[in-house]
């Protein structure tokens, strides 16, 4: 199955610090998985209306996104690429975006 690149949002309170760091980690993790994706960093309130496939952020923020995007991933350590890759692999397989 081919599909357009996933629209992935990394979110934080302001949208210019933590979320940017997480974007870098997410890009690396998705590259490892071979998943085509466009990753954008943004703030929590903007993310609600951005129609994303995947939203990644801290538990502090991801709770309010259940149902907003098909895949919502909660991250504790923003710099742990391997842990994020494992989480993404599991969730993307669940929705059929990764075989």
């Amino acid at each position: 199955m081919t599909r357009d690149p996933l629209r992935v949002l990394t979110v934080c309170g302001v949208g210019m610090g933590s979320s940017l760091m997480l974007r870098m980690t997410a890009e690396e993790a998705l590259k490892d998985l071979g998943v085509a994706a466009k990753v954008e960093a943004t703030d929590v309130s903007s993310a609600r209306s951005m129609n994303a496939d995947v939203i990644i952020g801290q538990g502090l923020h991801t709770g309010e996104f259940e149902g907003v995007a098909p895949v919502v991933v909660t991250v504790t350590n923003f710099m742990d690429k391997n842990a994020l890759r494992e989480q993404l692999a599991e969730r993307l397989q669940e929705v059929g975006w990764l075989s």
Binding site: C12, G13, V14, M16, G17, S18, L20, M21, L22, R23, M24, T25, E28, Q58, G59, L60, H61, T76, N77, F78, M79, D80, K81
Partner: protein
Amino acid sequence: MAELTQAVLAARVDVVVTGWQAAIEAACQPLVDAGAVEPRYTRRCVEMVEEHGPYIVLAPGLALAHARPEDGVRRVCLAAVTLTEPVRFGHDDNDPVDVVFAFGSPDADQHVGMLSALAGALIGGLDDELRAAASDDEARGLLEGIGDGG
């Protein structure tokens, strides 16, 4: 990366602080001293955590303090401190914190390259290298080298 060397203003090791607010203030002080941000920026960085919670604690032991461009940023800047005694930000998973970065950007774009480099360096273990640094100069050198890859 020449622009990165200009942005890195200081790194201080083994700083003694009494709490998370003082840790943010210590990380921001070099930015104020260099005139890269207005003095009010430091207070705004503390208020960001008061308003939005401890989301700036990105990883175990590690915080990235910042406020917004309109909070008095004149140019892109970055500094770091390591703490003798870790402090608690109230983060469920990543407390206590003993490495604090502070950055500023005058708009939504100018810091993107710098933070990408910082993220890459942190994925590679920069935080532990800073913890092990024996002097401010050594720590500053590590910070200035984040854009060099590896």
